[in-house]
Amino acid sequence: MHHEVGLCPAMTDLLTPADWAALWITLRLALLTTLLLLGLGLPLAWWLARGRGPLRVGVEAVVALPLVLPPTVLGFYLLLALGPQGFPGAWWEALGLPRLVFSFPGLVLASLVYSLPFVVQPLTTAFRGLDDGVLDAASALGAGPLDRFRSIVLPQSRAGILAAAVLGFAHTVGEFGVVLMIGGNIPGETQVLSIAIYDQVESLAYGRAHMLSGLLLAGSLLLLLLVYGSRARKEARL
């Protein structure tokens, strides 16, 4: 198979319809997960960074769990919870909603859990670094809480928000264990890039594995360049 390794022919010739499907599912999953996590992560991170109360430390620890647990452990528990015998899986099915395990919605849910810390932690760091004096000045000068969030907090946390989005996206793209446990490996429905690559390597289709791997490598590098580039620009401005 060594003769298939080159990158010369057009990509369309090299990617099979199954590859395209895997690429599309991966992008959709990562985008959706990132958007949902930003919506969830902004208020959660604000509370973790600036809130009070005994609950805060516990929540912070739970949010960080996916950082230390093997993805298979997470996937195993999610499989049990979301399955037809689990909680809340049983309720979910009793309500007549579509099945969560081995489906795209289930993948999204699992990715939300798995990538949560990668979005929440950069946001929390950004929010903790905000200057209290500046926020006090904004309130004293007539800016209410939402106004402050929009006009002071968000613009000053731009780098943190970008880092959160990129990390959440990239991490969801790179997810393997959880996806395999929850999604199975159904081409066209739950087969994402990382699993497709695994399959190709298993079946010794190194050329196709190269294509997809190279694509991921280049895409990830591009994303990271974006993040570090914007940070460098910000530092240059100051």
Partner: protein, 354 residues
């Protein structure tokens, strides 16, 4: 406009307990050493420190009482802190506009007039990180004025500045005293600033209000720690009557006499405040003959403070204006000085404020 306040803020090593009913007019200074609770008091008044035991009203408006709490952003404040706290992501113009856009219909100065009066024209496109300390504080003051505040709160606006920065901001603050449309609360630990800027003085020590009143008489009260300071001082109002440019002197008229000062740029006819440090004033029982001290004011001893470290402070009446004198206890005893006696105050130094 009256501000009524009752608060008790308790921290592990500190308690602030204040009852106040201030007729806010002009500039009221909250004056005390660091750790006296003056900044905490200002934050309580702003609503930035919320303690359930605080009761606070401003004019007819209840700002805090039990469960009622008017949020900081709805109190109509202007705010300048020690560091200025400009919004780092906005240009100078963006910072000014931020306050202007949140006036909620209150009438106040136009942006261009504030830019002009504080000399901000050349700074408008700069980011806060590109400003010097003095420039930053000028912008912060302009931003606070553009909020068209009902109450302007200044938390040691000069404290973080070097001498050049202070010289840049002080004139603006002095003008503020004369021109501001709203009452000003000014936190400071510097007697010099207070003498220059404050109409009224609230003296704080260890979380308690020791005394309050108009600045001029407050400075001369022997029962307050101000008069015990090394730099204890008195303020007098004077009129410039003329100058002798050839000799480098100007003449100031007081109700009780004249003072010569080594400044010639003063406009005849203008009113000035002069500051006399207690340690610069010696006493004689009779007008000395053949003496190098030009400035000699007849005065009557009103009060003599307690002797401390061999020194005493005396409060003198100089034709209706009060002056402090610090001399050694030994001199006091040898001259037999006592309240009611007529003396001559020999003034070794005069500072003209504005």
């Amino acid at each position: 406009m009256r501000l009524r306040l009752s608060c008790r803020v308790t921290w592990p090593a500190f308690e602030l307990a204040c009852e106040a009913d201030w007729p806010l007019q002009g500039v009221t200074a909250l004056f005390g050493e660091s750790g006296s609770g003056k900044t905490t008091l200002l934050r309580v008044i702003a609503g930035l420190h919320r303690d359930p035991r605080t009761r606070l009203s401003f004019g007819e408006e209840c700002w805090q009482d039990g469960r009622r709490f008017r949020p900081v952003d709805q109190r109509g404040l202007g705010w300048v802190s020690q560091q200025g706290d400009l919004f780092p992501h906005l240009s100078v113009r963006g910072n000014l506009d931020f306050a202007f856009q949140r006036r909620r219909g209150r009438k106040g100065p136009e942006t261009y007039s504030v830019i002009h009066s504080l000399g901000l024209e050349d700074l408008l496109d700069r980011l806060p990180a590109q400003l010097s300390g003095g420039q930053r504080q000028r912008v912060a003051l302009g931003r606070a004025l553009l909020a068209a505040p009902k109450l302007l709160l200044l938390d040691e606006p000069l404290a973080s500045l070097d001498a050049a920065g202070k010289a840049e901001l002080l004139p603006a603050l002095e003008r503020l005293r004369l021109e501001a449309d709203c009452p000003v609360l000014y936190v400071s630990h510097s007697p010099d600033e207070v003498a220059r800027l404050a109409d009224r003085l609230v003296l704080l020590e260890q979380g308690r209000i020791l005394g309050e009143g108009e600045t001029v008489p407050m400075l001369c009260r022997l029962d307050l720690p101000l008069a015990e300071r090394e730099d204890a001082e008195a303020l007098l109002e004077a009129t410039v009557t003329g100058s002798l440019p050839g000799e480098g002197l100007s003449e100031l008229a007081l109700p009780g006499g004249t003072l010569w000062v080594t400044q010639t740029a003063l406009t005849p006819g203008s009113h000035v405040r002069v500051r006399l440090l207690a340690r610069d004033i010696s006493l004689a029982l009779q007008e000395p003959r053949e003496c190098s001290i030009l400035n000699r004011l007849p005065a009557v001893i009103r009060e003599i403070g307690e002797a401390k470290r061999g020194q005493v402070t005396l409060r003198l009446d100089c034709a209706g204006q009060q002056v402090l004198s610090r001399i050694t206890e030994r001199s006091r005893r040898e001259l037999g000085l006592a309240p009611g006696m007529r003396v001559v105050a020999l003034v070794k130094g005069v500072a003209v404020l504005a």
